[in-house]
Every structure is written in structure tokens, then in C-alpha cells.
Amino acid sequence: MAAPFPPPPGPRFVLRGTQSPVNTLHFCPASQALGNPLLFSGSQSGLVHIWSLQTRRTVAALNGHKGQGVTWLKTLPQGHQLLSQGRDLRLCLWDLAEGRNTIMDTVQLDSVGFCKSSVLARGQLCWMLAVPGKGSDEVQILEMPSKTSVCTLKPEADAKPGMPMCLGLWQTNSSPRPLLLAGYEDGSVTLWDILERKVCSRIACHEEPVMGLDFDSQKAKGVSGSAGKVLAVWSLDGQQSLQVYKTHELTNPGIAEVTIRPDHKILATAGWDHRIRVFHWRTMKPLAVLAFHSASVYCVAFATDGLLAAGSKDQRISIWSLYPCS
């Protein structure tokens, strides 16, 4: 009668106190934390909380979005700078060095959608930013920190993919050409070549809007989750064309975010069904279903040391430690 598999573990600890649904999470890279690992969380009330993972308390709360929800957080590689995207149509750049928390710069956005932006570092002080554009189906590419608009990626007139829902900037090690993966409202994933401003490849892998995607540039494979029941894994071949590699049927529909662990071994999904699902990245074998939250899970994030954090509508952030990084 004993089950052949061990029962799923509980969270390592839980962070409470955002007093608002947690929209997005981001681990501070280990290189910047210097022995005091930090976690950033963006909540629907517009605050960005900085958590110390040692004391499990908030270090600071950044209020820069006028009470409008924070949808995306990302640290910049040059250190102690945090980007936050809010529903107040602003993208703020925070200076966190030496205990400061001041806004250094802001970028005005034009889109009122939920699309999260994406960043690609292109040099020590120079980085590229992809944000949803002015037109409802456009993506705008900015050169930072100069804020010059490089280009606007607009689908062909007859494609009608709807709004962009999630973005992923990346470039291969071999070539300096930046590429953009964008998931659209009609369920398709598109690969853009930014310099040529053209679509390299496009696959319709979901029936419902794509809610989150992540890409593994080593294996040239990516994964996307949608509002529907299917998790799709697609691969990129030498001719820069996308192909559906595998799909995985979920028990309940709705994936808010998909994240691959930095060591490319496992991936986690944030489910609208209150559950976090963990898969083996290469085989897509389901490994665990973590049922802890009592409302939709909005975001999942991995630290470089393998720690998993999930934020939920139930205002809690759960921290898990599964399958330690080797």
C-alpha cells in the first residue's frame, strides 16, 4: 500500500508581509549579494520589497509606482541597480548601492498591457531593453542607458497575433546578433531578428495566449506556458526556425510563468491552480507538484544556488529547496 514515491516536501520557509498579491520575484545575483542573499518581490500594491534570505525579513520597501502594481523586476549586471516595471506605465531604474534606494532614471512606457519587459546586457555599461510598444501588437527595442529607440518590431499586417504577452531577449555566444522571442495573445511564439527587424520563425504552439516563456540558449530549446492546459517545448534549429519539440498536458489550465533553473536541469511553472510544478528540463518528466499556496501562483524564480521562490495571489512567498544543484 506504501506509495512508490516519497510525499512532496513542504516549503523551506515562507515570507509573509507584502500585504498584497505578489506579482513578480527576482533573486539578487550572488556576485552582488556578497554573503547576504537578497530576494526582490514586486507586489500588486506597487511596492518592491527587498528580502534578506538570512533573516527572512524585509530589508527595505521601494515605493516608486504610485500604488500601481509592479509587474517585472530585474537587476542589471553592473551591480546594485534594479529595474522595475509598473502598471503606472513607468520603468524605474533604482540605485541600491551602499544602502541607497533612489530612482536614478525612468522610462515612460506606452503599453497598458501585462507584458513583462526583457533586458540583454551588451557591454559593461550598455544594455538593450525590449518593452511592449505603442501599438497594441508592437515591441519596442531601446538602447540603454541612452533610452534611444533602436527599432519597433511590428508584425506583418496580415499576421494579427494580438498583443505581445511575454518577451525574451537573447543572443548566441557565437554571433552578436540579438534575437527576441515573443509570445503573443493568439498563442504563437515568434523569433525576431532585431537588426533586420524581421520575423525569423513563428510557431503556433498554444490555443490560448502565451503567458510565459523561457529559453535555454545552450540546448537551443525553450518552453512556453499559456492560459490553456498545454506546456510546449520548442527547439531552434540551425536555420533559426522554431519547431515544437514536445508538449505536456497539465491537469489544470493556466500557467503564469515558466522558469528554467540557471543550471538548465529543471524548470518550474507557476500555476493558476495554486500549484507549482517542477519538471526535468531535458526529458520533461514531471518531478513534483507543490501544493502550498491557497490562490493562484503568479511567479516563480530560481536563485543561482538552486533555491526556488514562488509568489502567489495569497500574498505569500514560498521558498523551496529541491534537487540541489550539483
Partner: protein, 837 residues
Amino acid sequence: MDPALSAVRLTVQEAIHTLSSSEDVGHILSTLGTLKRYLGGTEDPALPEKEEFTTIHFSAILRCLVSKLSPGWLELSPDGQLEQLWESFFLDGPPDQAFLVLMEAIESTAGPSFRLMKMARLLEIFLSKGRVAALMEEQCRPQTKPSFPLFQETLLSKVVGLPDRLGNSLQQDNLTQFLPQNYFPLLGQEVVEVLKAVVNFLQGGLDCSVSFVSRVLGKVCIQGRKKEILGVLVPQLTVLTQDSCLWQRVCWRLVEQVPDRAVEAVLTGLVEAAPRPEVLSRLLGNLVVKNKKAQFVMTRKLLFLQYQHTTPMLQSLLGYLAVDSQRRPLLIQVLKELLETWGNSSAVRHAPLEQQCYISKAILVCLAHLGEPELQDIQDELLASMMAGVKCRLDSSLPPVRRLGMIVAEVISSRIHPEGPPLKFQYEDDEMSREMLALATPGPAGACSSETGGPSLASVVTETPVETPEKTVDSDVPSVQPQGSDSELDSDDEFIPYDMSGDKELKSSKEPRYIRDCLEALTTSEDMERWEAALNVLEGLVYRSPEATREVSVELAKVLLHLEEKTCMAEFEQLRQRALVAVTVTDPEQVAKYLTTQFYGLNYSLRQRMDILDVLVLAAQALSRPRSLQRLSQHGPPGSGTLCAPALASSQPGNAATPDWQVVVEERIKSKTRRFSKGCPRRELTGGPNEFNSVAGYFFFPLLQHFDRPLVTFDLLGDDQLVLGRLAHTLASLMYLAVNTTVAVPMGKALLEFVWALRFHVDTYVRRGLLSAVSSVLLSVPTERLLGDLPDELLEARSWLADVAEKDVDEDCRELAMRALLLLERLRDKLLSISSP
């Protein structure tokens, strides 16, 4: 008198004299040589002299030779010449006389002695040289001289009774050849030899009779040795009769000549041994048409009066009837009679299940053999019998009987109306039903059996398709393997999946939090999701808030009892039942009162009444169980439904998180530690009051009150015997669960009265319930009270039980009665052991 014949007599007298008196080897040898001439093939003495010798004097000579047998006498000639000559008289002379003298000598010689063993060895040689065949062959020849019926009779009884007689004489020293399991196959082989000779004679134009062989066969079969002899005979005859009409006629004759009283034994044996209907047809011919006795055996006795035979035997028997056009009317007749029996309600009630199964199989086999036009002719009769049969079978309370009815009805209706819409019942597919349906398909069975080319050919045909899939599988393996090895390329040992059984569809969170909300949702809610959620959480809510439940317990029970499945919900029945049980456990007195009165209420379906009974038993079980166990089983989250969780918890009381090393260390410490008291350290069981004690009466007595008062809608003693059976089983369970309660004694008394009133009920299921009720009375009521308060009832029950154990048609009933009797015995033993010291 012919001088030559008198010369023979003279020679014989002289020889006997010489043998009995002379000690001179040469003289004896020459005398024997002279006599031997009369037997041998040499044409020295004339034929009449030989005949005179063999018919009249041979026995006397043999007897004389037997009487001389002793070690000293045989050693007169050291080179064994005398012994050889002595033996040759028995082995070369007329076999019947030699056999009779040998048997007579063996039987008359007492005790273990040289002579006895010598004779036995000689008989062994006699058998191994095929002299029995010669003996029987002799009896088959046209008899020139008037034969004595008595002589043949003696011969017959000695041939057939040889193993018994030898066993009697030789006792411990019996030779293996004379054991029945060796002798009768040999006899079978000898019969084949005789028949071969007979066929040769017939081909040579000589007249022959096989009646002696038939009588041997009949007698052996009556003695119950049909398997041994026919096991040898039938396969050989199968081959021999295949191409030869003459052989077939000899076989038919052989069976026809079997005496009447042996017909049944021989035919049963043949039907059992014949592998296929065609073979049976070749062996028997049209015997059933010609011989009344054979017809009776084949069409009535084997089908209606016996039911121990195997299905292949049924198939060859009915197939035999179907093969020939002359016999087909018999098959139709048989089918009609079978169906008549099948449709007879009294037969359904009183015949054992095995017999009903046997008859159903026979019907299906008949149907498979009969063609469309033949069935059309008797369509009406078939339909009438079928309808009657299906009706009384579906009424039965035993599932196998119901299933038999469904299967047979389906097959019959599909055969009668092949083009009409098929009749289709819902029944569980089990081994029996598959076997039955396989019987009903005529196609492959007939095709296979018509291929009489030989079993080897058939097996080759069947083997080839078996081999091909194996090959394809083999060829598949390499293509599969790379894929498998790819996924195993680098080990995934570190990624062991966790248990994902909890990953279920998410329901919208509308579940009620309070009992009264649940009640409202179940009664008035139009929102089906809420209704389902309410039913899902109800059991857990009831256990969590007993106080709130008690306020509305009866109302809740009423709602649940009348609850209908509005949506297609998985596990609706279980959820409802579990909730009802929970309510009953929480407030046993009120709810049990309510449920037991509703059991005899007016407007309930049988289903609801049976639900009431089930709930009462389950609740009683929960109440009578110690509280600690009960809690444990309730603790599992109501939504998860995983029963393994409490089991795990109970098996590993520490908890699941205990690391492996800790377990290992504890094991080591345990193995190194010596303890003075042995036995595993067990947890102290906490005692508590049996909660069933105070309320058992509310569960039990109201159920007994009205069973004999029929309502318009509910008649326990009439048509609703299924519920009566359930009631009996329920009462038995309640009685059993009431062990160690104060109310057990009056309960036992009332239950025995109930049993007594119904003890001759016709329905098997009811009887089973009553028998288990008696057993639980014996188990639950304390011994001294049982004997003090209920001695008369026990005596009556005992005689009834003994009667059931011996005579009941149902095997389970007999077994249950036996168990109850054993319990009574144990009771008596206990009493004796109390009173003796």
C-alpha cells in the same frame, strides 16, 4: 468309439501316471514330448486326435503339471529343459483352458510359496505374450461346438477380475503387471489386437462375433476402470476408423453388443474419451437412434441428471447429435427440454448453481450447432421458455444466477432474431461469462474440428501465426532500444519524482464551511458545483463538528437518504454513504431510530432500503471499534481520498521525515541490545468504552418488528426476498458487532426467533444470511448465558443446521452450516472444560 481317440486317452492316462510317480528325468521328458506333439504345429497326429486332446484332456494334464510343481521336481533336469517344456504347455496350448487352470491354481495355493510365485511369474509371461488377446479371439470365432454360457461367464469374470484376484492371493508380493493401472491398459491393447484379428477374419469372409469383447468392455467400465481401458482403446480406434468403413462397423457392433446394464458406463467413458464429435460419431454410429437405453443415457442422463462433466465433453456429446441428419431431431428435442428445465422457476430456485451453469452451457452448445431454419421452426417454444427463464433468473438474489440468465438470453435472442436489434444486458465480464460466450460462437470450433487431418496439422497451422508476432517484436526491439538508451544517457538518479497523486482537477472554491450551509446547499442549491462541493466536504464537516451535527442530525439523514444523483458525479454513492455513516456515528440514537423506522416506510425504493441496511452496519462497525482506530481512519483529508495516508501513518508511527540513518542506527542498537523480556515493544492500547453498547438496541430491534407485515410497496416475505436476504445479513453483522455488550443476550434471543421463523426459506441468499446470523449469535452471546437462557433454541438450531449441512443444494449454505455446527461443538467443549475441574 474311434480307436484313435481311445489311443489318445490311453496315452494321456499313461502320461499322468508317469508324471505323478516317476523320478527319471529322461522318462518324464519323453512323456511330455509325446504330449507336446498334440499341441504343436507338426502334422504328426491327425486333426481329430489333436482336438480330442485339447478339448478333453488338456486341462487334466495342466492340473497334473501344476500339482507336480516344486523346486526339487524342476531341478531334476539341471539344464532347465524340464522347466521350459513345462512352461510351454501353458503358453502354447489353448489359452482359455491354460488361463483358467492358472487362475484356479493361483487362487487355491495358499500363502507365499515357491509354487505361487512360479505361477504368478508364468501368468505374467502369459499376459506379456498376448495370450489374453488369443483367448478373446478364440471366443470371437464362430463357435463350432456348443459353448457353455457358464464357461464364458467364468472366463469373463476371471479376465476382468484378474487384478482383484491376484491382489488377494499375492498380497504384499503382487507383481506390478497385475496392478489395475497397468493391467487395464494392457487389456485395452489386447482388445485392439482382437479387433484387428476380427477385421482380418471379416475381410477373409469369415463370420465373427464381438459380443465377448463387448462384455469384457462393459464389465471393466462398470467396475469403474473406464479411463484406463478407454484411454488406450479410443485413440487407436480413432485412427483405425478414420478411413475404414469395416472398422467403423466393427466399432458400432462392439458398442451395440454391450449388455444393457453396462451401457451407461461405456457410453460415459466413450464420450469422455472421444476428443471430437466426429470421432464419437465414428465410434458409435447411430446407436442413440437404435438403442433406447443408449438414447436415455445420452439425451437425458448425461444432460439432466448429472452435471459433473467437463465442457469439452458436452461439446462432443451434443456435436455427436448434430453430425448426422438422423440424429438432429434428437438434438432439437434436447434443446427444447433443456430450455424447459432452464425456464422452470422451481428448478432455478432449487437446483445447485453448478447444475444451472451446466445446463446453460449445454443450451449454448446446442444453439451453436443448430442452423437458422431449424431454429425458426421452434422459435415460439424457445421464446416462451426463454422469457420464463430470464424472468425468474433476474429475480434471483445471486449474481451468478442473474448473469447466467442474461448471457443465455442474449445468445438465444441473437440466434432467433439475427437481424433485429440485439438484446444487451450489462454484466461484469468474468471468466465464466467469457467461456460461455465462446461456446456460443459456432464458427471457429466447427472449422477446427472438421479438420480431421490430424492434430499435428492443426497445431502447425496455429503455431505459425504465433511465431510471426514474436519475430516482429524482435525486429522492433533494436529500434526501440536506442531511444531508451538515449533517455538513460546520463543518469537521472538525482531526479526522483515526488508523489503526484494529489494532482487533481481544481474545483472552484465554493465548498460550504458549516453543516447548515451544507444542508442548504444539498436541498435548495441550483448551483451544481456548490452541490457537489457540499457533498464532498460533508463527511469531514460532520466529524469535525459533532455538536452542530447533532442539532440537525435527523434532518441531515433525511436529506441524504432522499438525495438523488443530479450530476454525473464520480463516487456519488460512496460519498453519500460515507456522509450518512458519519451522521449516524455522530448521533447514533436519533438517526438509527429514524433510519430503522424508514426501513419499513411506505415510499422507498428497494435501493434506498438496502442503503439503510448498509449504513446501519457501517455505522455500527465504526461505533464498536475502539476510538483511537476510528480517529485514525477519519483523519485523512476528506478531499484527498487517499486511503494510503492513514495506513502509512499507522505503520510508521515516528513520522515519514525520520532520516534513514536514524533507522539504521536504531536497528543496530536493537540488534546489539539484549532484553530480558522478549517480544516487540508495543504501544499501550488505551481502553475506552464501546460506544455501540448503549445504542445497539436502536439499531437492531426496530428492524425485526415488521418484517412479516407486508405493505403495498414492500413485501419482504414475497417478491422482495433480495431485501430480506440483505436484512438477514445485516442483522447477523449487527449481532456480531454487539459482542461484549449487555444487550447481546436479548438480541441473540430475538435473532434466533427470527431465524427460526424463516429457516425453510426457498431463496439461497436468505438462507445464507440466516446461517451467518446463527453463527454470529454463537460468537457474540456469552457461553453461559447462551446455555442458561436459550437451551431450547440451540437444540432446535442444531438439528436444523445438521440438516442443512447435509442436504442443502447450495454449497455456501452447507459450508456456513458446517461452520455454525463447529461453533456449537466448540461451545460444548468449552462448557465441559469448565465443568470438569
